[in-house]
C-alpha cells in the first residue's frame, strides 16, 4: 500500500461513523475505507470483489480511532490471500476483525473517551479557573494547546494504526502491549486528580468570599460526594444546587 493510498484511506477513516446505524453500527464506514484497496486487489475479478464487499458489509463496531488498525490489517490480509498465500483464509479475516474489534474498543474507550479527552478538557477548565478567564489570549492559547495536544495523540493513533495494522497485521497486538495502556490510564488519572485538587483549593481560597459562600461550597462538595457514593447522577446535584440556591434567596437571606 503506497503512501498515497494510505493518505487516501486515512482521510476516508475520518468518516467511519458518518453512516452510523443501529443494525451494523460502523459497517458502511468500514466498507468505505477498505473499498479502494479491495477494488485494486481484485481488479479484473468482479466475482471476488463482489464476495469481498459482501464479506465486509457485516456488523462492525470498535473505537473510531482504533478502527484504522483493523482497516490496515484487513487490507493486508486480503492482499495476502489474493496473492495466493494459503496460510490465511478469507474466513479468518472475518474472525480476526470481529475478535479484535471488541478489545480494541475497550482500550480506545478506556484511554481516549474515559481518560485522555476528559484530562485535556480538564486542563483547559483548570486554566479558566486559575486565571479567572480574565485574559482572552490565555484562553485562546490554552484552547489551541488542548486541541493540539489531544489531536497529536488522536491523529497519531489513527495514522500509525493504519500503517502498522497493515505492516504488522496481527502482530500489532504485541506492539500495543508495549504501550502499557492501562498503566498510562492510571497515571493520567492521577494527574487529573491532582489538577482537580489544585482547582478546588484555588477556588475555595480566592474566588469565594466570606464564610457563608465557603461554607455553602464545602457543603455542596460534601453533598456531591455523598450523592456520588449513592450512585445518583451529578445532574441531580446540578439542579438541586440551583433549586436550593433560589429557595434560599427567597428566604431572604442573601449573601
Amino acid at each position: 500500500m503506497k503512501t498515497f493510498s494510505r493518505f487516501r484511506i486515512f482521510f476516508r477513516s475520518l468518516f467511519l461513523q458518518s453512516a452510523w446505524n443501529f443494525e451494523r453500527i460502523q459497517n458502511i464506514g468500514f466498507l468505505y475505507c477498505v473499498f479502494p484497496a479491495l477494488r485494486m486487489i481484485y481488479k479484473n475479478k468482479p466475482e471476488l470483489l463482489h464476495n469481498a464487499v459482501k464479506r465486509h458489509s457485516g456488523f462492525f463496531n470498535t473505537h473510531p480511532y482504533m478502527a484504522n488498525i483493523l482497516i490496515g490489517l484487513t487490507i493486508a490480509l486480503e492482499e495476502q490471500v489474493a496473492g495466493g498465500d494459503k496460510s490465511v483464509s478469507r474466513e479468518e479475516i472475518e474472525v480476526f476483525k470481529s475478535n479484535m474489534a471488541g478489545p480494541l474498543a475497550a482500550i480506545g474507550d478506556a484511554f481516549f473517551w474515559a481518560t485522555w479527552r476528559p484530562f485535556c478538557a480538564l486542563l483547559v477548565v483548570a486554566v479558566v479557573f486559575l486565571y479567572g478567564g480574565a485574559d482572552d489570549v490565555v484562553i485562546k492559547v490554552s484552547l489551541g494547546v488542548f486541541l493540539l495536544v489531544y489531536n497529536s495523540v488522536h491523529i497519531g493513533v489513527r495514522y500509525m494504526g493504519l500503517k502498522e495494522g497493515y505492516g504488522m497485521k496481527t502482530k500489532i497486538v504485541k506492539k500495543i502491549a508495549t504501550f502499557k495502556v492501562q498503566k498510562l490510564v492510571d497515571n493520567v488519572r492521577i494527574a487529573g486528580i491532582v489538577i482537580i485538587c489544585v482547582i478546588v483549593v484555588k477556588y475555595f481560597l480566592f474566588d469565594l468570599s466570606g464564610a457563608a459562600e465557603r461554607g455553602f461550597f464545602a457543603l455542596a462538595l460534601a453533598a456531591g460526594i455523598f450523592l456520588d457514593v449513592k450512585k445518583i447522577s451529578v445532574t441531580f446535584l446540578f439542579y438541586g444546587l440551583i433549586i436550593i440556591s433560589v429557595l434560599y434567596a427567597y428566604a431572604g437571606k442573601n449573601f
Binding site: 446505524n21 464487499v53 483547559v124 479558566v128 474566588d207 442573601n254
Partner: protein, 222 residues
C-alpha cells in the same frame, strides 16, 4: 467581531456538530471549545468560555459507549447564542458585564434541548438502517458507488438535522432569555447568581468521580 446572524451561526454550529460523531472527532465540538468559539464570534469570549467550562465539567462523564449520549455540544451552543447573541440584540453588549444569572438561565434553558436533540439523533440513526439495506441491494447488483454516496448522505443528514434544529431555536431562545431575564424576581436572580458560584462543586465532583479508579459513572445522566 460581532456576528448575530442566525443563519451563519446555525451553519457554523451544525458544522461543529459533525465532529461529535460523524466526522473526525477532533474534539472541537466539546462544550469548552465550541462555546468558546461561539462566544468569541459573538463578541464575548469570556462568557462563552464560562458556559463551555460549566457544561464540560458537569457532564464530563458522558462518553459515547453503549447508548447515544446526550448532546452537550447542542446545549453549549444554544446556551451561548441565547446568552450572548440575545444580549447584543437587546441593544448594547458590554463584554465582561454579563450577569451570572443570565448565564445560568441560558444554560438551564439549553439543557433540555440537548436531551431533545438526542432523541432526534436516535431517530436519525434508526433511519440509517435503511441506508444499510440500500447498500446491500446495490452491492448485490455489483454497483459500488452507493458506498461513497451513503457516507456522504449520512454526513449530510447529521449536518442538516443540526442546522434545522439550531436555525429554528437560536432566535426564539434568545428572545426568550431577553424576555425572562429582566422578568426574574430579585430572589430568583440572586439565587441563580449564588448557584453560579456553587456549580463548580458539581463539576468538581463529576470530574473527581471520573478520574478516580473504577468509580461509578453515569454514561447517561438523567
Amino acid at each position: 467581531m460581532k456576528y448575530n446572524n442566525v443563519l451563519f451561526f446555525a451553519f457554523l454550529s451544525s458544522l461543529l456538530g459533525l465532529d461529535v460523531t460523524a466526522v473526525a472527532q477532533t474534539m472541537v465540538s466539546r462544550p469548552i471549545v465550541a462555546a468558546s468559539i461561539a462566544g468569541y464570534l459573538l463578541g464575548d469570549l469570556k462568557t462563552g468560555v464560562l458556559i463551555g467550562a460549566v457544561i464540560e465539567l458537569v457532564w464530563i462523564r458522558v462518553i459515547p459507549v453503549g447508548a447515544v449520549p446526550p448532546d452537550t455540544t447542542v446545549s453549549s451552543l444554544l446556551a451561548t447564542f441565547w446568552c450572548i447573541g440575545g444580549a447584543a440584540q437587546g441593544g448594547g453588549l458590554t463584554p465582561g458585564v454579563m450577569e451570572n444569572s443570565r448565564i445560568m438561565l441560558s444554560i438551564l434553558m439549553a439543557i433540555p434541548f440537548g436531551m431533545v436533540f438526542k432523541k432526534l439523533d436516535i431517530v436519525h440513526r434508526q433511519f440509517n438502517t435503511s441506508l444499510v439495506h440500500l447498500v446491500d441491494r446495490e452491492v448485490e447488483k455489483q454497483k459500488y458507488g452507493i458506498i461513497s454516496k451513503a457516507v456522504f448522505l449520512g454526513a449530510t443528514l447529521f449536518w442538516l438535522k443540526a442546522f434545522v434544529f439550531y436555525g429554528l431555536l437560536f432566535y426564539p431562545g434568545a428572545l426568550a432569555v431577553n424576555f425572562l431575564e429582566p422578568a426574574l424576581s430579585g430572589a430568583v436572580k440572586s439565587g441563580l447568581d449564588t448557584a453560579f458560584k456553587l456549580i463548580p462543586a458539581a463539576g468538581i465532583v463529576a470530574a473527581f468521580s471520573m478520574f478516580s479508579k473504577r468509580k461509578h459513572e453515569d454514561v447517561q445522566p438523567f
